[in-house]
Structure formats: structure tokens, C-alpha cells
């Protein structure tokens, strides 16, 4: 039993040694970024059923696009929440996680190009909601801009943490 525990300890030291320690600033930035992502996801997914493509021929394909973007926002928020929990339980991130964070910066940059163009093609299902939808569109764009910036900052901090560990 003692030997088994010692073996588990050795595995623990090895496994935790492969991951990199996150700085307090990274942990705070992860938390802040998570909050923005959750807000954006909620904002998008609660209103997505009230918008429709302005052109009839684009209604079907843009409905799928709206849904896919809602899923993407939801998954990014979920991923950040998981990383937030991971950093709270143990302040370490793997190199693979750092790489996925880097990739997601690029994903958000692409979403920043797609979402404004998509919103420009959408209108309110009920014309009585025109004003509310117009305000919502601006809020989404603002929050997406904030999320992209916050995520880019998070990526920089994670990279800095890795660089510190290498020294």
C-alpha cells in the first residue's frame, strides 16, 4: 500500500511538473474574460430566435449561421469557465491548453469579421422589435470586441508564464 502511494506521488510530481504555473494576473484575466464570454453567449442565445435574414433566399442558410455562432460563443464561454475552474483548483496550465488559447484568439478574430457582416444581413422577426434589435446588435459587437481584446491579453499572459518557466 505504501509503495502504491509512493508510486502515485511520483506520477503526481511528474504530471504536475509537465504543466506551467499561471501567474496571479493570468488567473484574474481568465476570470474577467470568462465573465465577458458568458455575457456575450447569453446575449446572443437569448435573442437569436427574434432575428431573421432580410433576404428571403438567405433565410435558411443564415438561420444555421446564427445558430452556429451561438454554439461557438457558448463553447468558448464553457471552455473559459472550465479553465477558470482548473486554475482555481490548481494554478497550472499545460502547453496544449496554451496552444488552444492561442488558436481561439484566431477563432475570435474570424468571428469578429463574420458577426458584424452577419448582423448587417439580419432584421427583427417582428418589426415592433426593430429598435431593440438595433441596440442588441451594437451591444453584441461591443461585447465581441471586448472579448477579443480580453482573450488576446490572456494569450499574452499565458505566453509570458511559459517564458518565465523556461528561464
Amino acid at each position: 500500500m505504501k509503495w502504491l502511494t509512493m508510486l502515485m506521488l511520483a506520477v503526481l510530481v511528474f504530471v504536475s511538473g509537465c504543466d506551467k504555473k499561471a501567474s496571479p494576473e493570468t488567473i484574474l484575466q481568465m476570470d474577467a474574460t470568462t465573465k465577458i464570454a458568458v455575457e456575450l453567449s447569453t446575449q446572443w442565445n437569448t435573442r437569436k430566435s427574434t432575428i431573421v435574414a432580410a433576404k428571403d433566399e438567405e433565410k435558411a442558410i443564415l438561420a444555421i449561421t446564427v445558430s452556429d455562432i451561438g454554439d461557438a460563443f457558448g463553447l468558448i464561454a464553457l471552455g473559459l469557465s472550465n479553465y477558470n475552474d482548473a486554475l482555481l483548483s490548481k494554478k497550472r496550465l499545460s502547453k496544449n491548453s496554451a496552444s488552444k488559447i492561442r488558436e481561439t484568439v484566431d477563432t475570435l478574430n474570424t468571428l469578429s469579421l463574420v458577426v458584424p457582416q452577419l448582423l448587417a444581413k439580419m432584421k427583427a422577426v417582428d418589426s415592433a422589435d426593430d429598435d431593440a434589435v438595433a441596440i442588441w446588435k451594437e451591444l453584441v459587437k461591443t461585447n465581441l470586441g471586448q472579448l477579443t481584446a480580453a482573450f488576446a491579453r490572456l494569450d499574452e499572459l499565458v505566453k509570458a508564464d511559459l517564458a518565465v518557466e523556461k528561464k
Binding site: L62, T65, D68, K100, D106, L111, V114
Partner: protein, 150 residues
């Protein structure tokens, strides 16, 4: 048949896919088309090439998750291009969420192992302390008995 021709034949916007990665996607699709064509020759079905939407999507999905490459979205993208870019972003977000889940579970396991290791160390310390005190008490008792009997 190159990638662009394959994508065009499938009513996919060929301008969306550029670069080496998408050339590989094209080759995968070509392979799928060849398998389909061979099946036609063997069974003499009336339709030579028949890839379903799900099969095309599956090939794209496999291609997207295996590469970090993103499509170039121009300023005046059409609905089809926006749809494909959104789909690729969704697939990449799935990869991000999956990796985060793995990291969360790993960190939780390490935290639990560390907690158990600390408890084990405390318990082991207690046992060693008990043994030491026991030995000391035994020694003192024996010495006292020895002194009394002398």
C-alpha cells in the same frame, strides 16, 4: 480535378479555401469520390457519385479539427461564406472546450492526489511519532525496572 473544381462541383464556395491545408481536404474529398465511383462500377447504380451533405460535412469537420488554419473572410462575404466560416469557428470552439475539460479534470485530479498525499504524510508522521514514543517509553520503563531490581 483540383480542390477548387471539387468544391465547385459540390456547390461549396471555392474562394473560401486556400492554402496547403485545404489542398489536403480536396484530396480527402477526391478519395471519397473515388470510393463512391468504384462502388458505382461494382453495383452499376444509376448515380455515379453520391456524397451526402453529412459526408461532406464530416470530411470538412475532420479537416478543420486537424488544423488550426482558418478561412480568409473578406469584407463583403456572401451568406454561404459566412455560414462556412461560422461552422469552422464552431468546430474550433469545440476543440477549445474539449481541451479545457481535460485540463479541468487533470487539475482536479492533481489537487485530490496532493490532498491525499498530505493526509498520508500526516498519518505516517503520526505513526512514526507513536513508534518513537513507544520505544522511548519502553526504554525508560526497562531502565527503571533495571534500576529497581539492582
Amino acid at each position: 480535378m483540383d480542390t477548387k473544381e471539387i468544391l465547385a462541383a459540390m456547390d461549396l464556395n471555392e474562394n473560401l479555401f486556400t492554402g496547403e491545408h485545404w489542398e489536403r481536404v480536396g484530396k480527402d474529398m477526391l478519395k471519397a469520390l473515388q470510393i463512391s465511383a468504384e462502388a458505382f462500377v461494382k453495383t452499376n447504380m444509376p448515380i455515379a457519385v453520391n456524397l451526402t451533405d453529412d459526408e461532406v460535412k464530416g470530411l470538412l469537420y475532420a479537416a478543420v479539427i486537424s488544423s488550426p488554419e482558418l478561412p480568409v473572410v473578406p469584407a463583403n462575404a456572401d451568406a454561404e461564406m459566412l455560414a462556412m466560416a461560422a461552422y469552422i469557428c464552431k468546430v474550433r470552439a469545440q476543440g477549445f472546450a474539449l481541451m479545457s475539460e481535460a485540463q479541468k479534470q487533470k487539475n482536479a485530479s492533481i489537487a485530490l492526489l496532493e490532498k491525499n498525499a498530505k493526509e498520508f504524510a500526516v498519518n505516517l508522521g503520526g505513526v512514526l511519532l507513536n513508534v518513537a514514543f513507544g520505544a522511548l517509553a519502553t526504554g525508560v520503563t526497562k531502565a527503571a525496572i533495571g534500576a529497581v531490581t539492582q
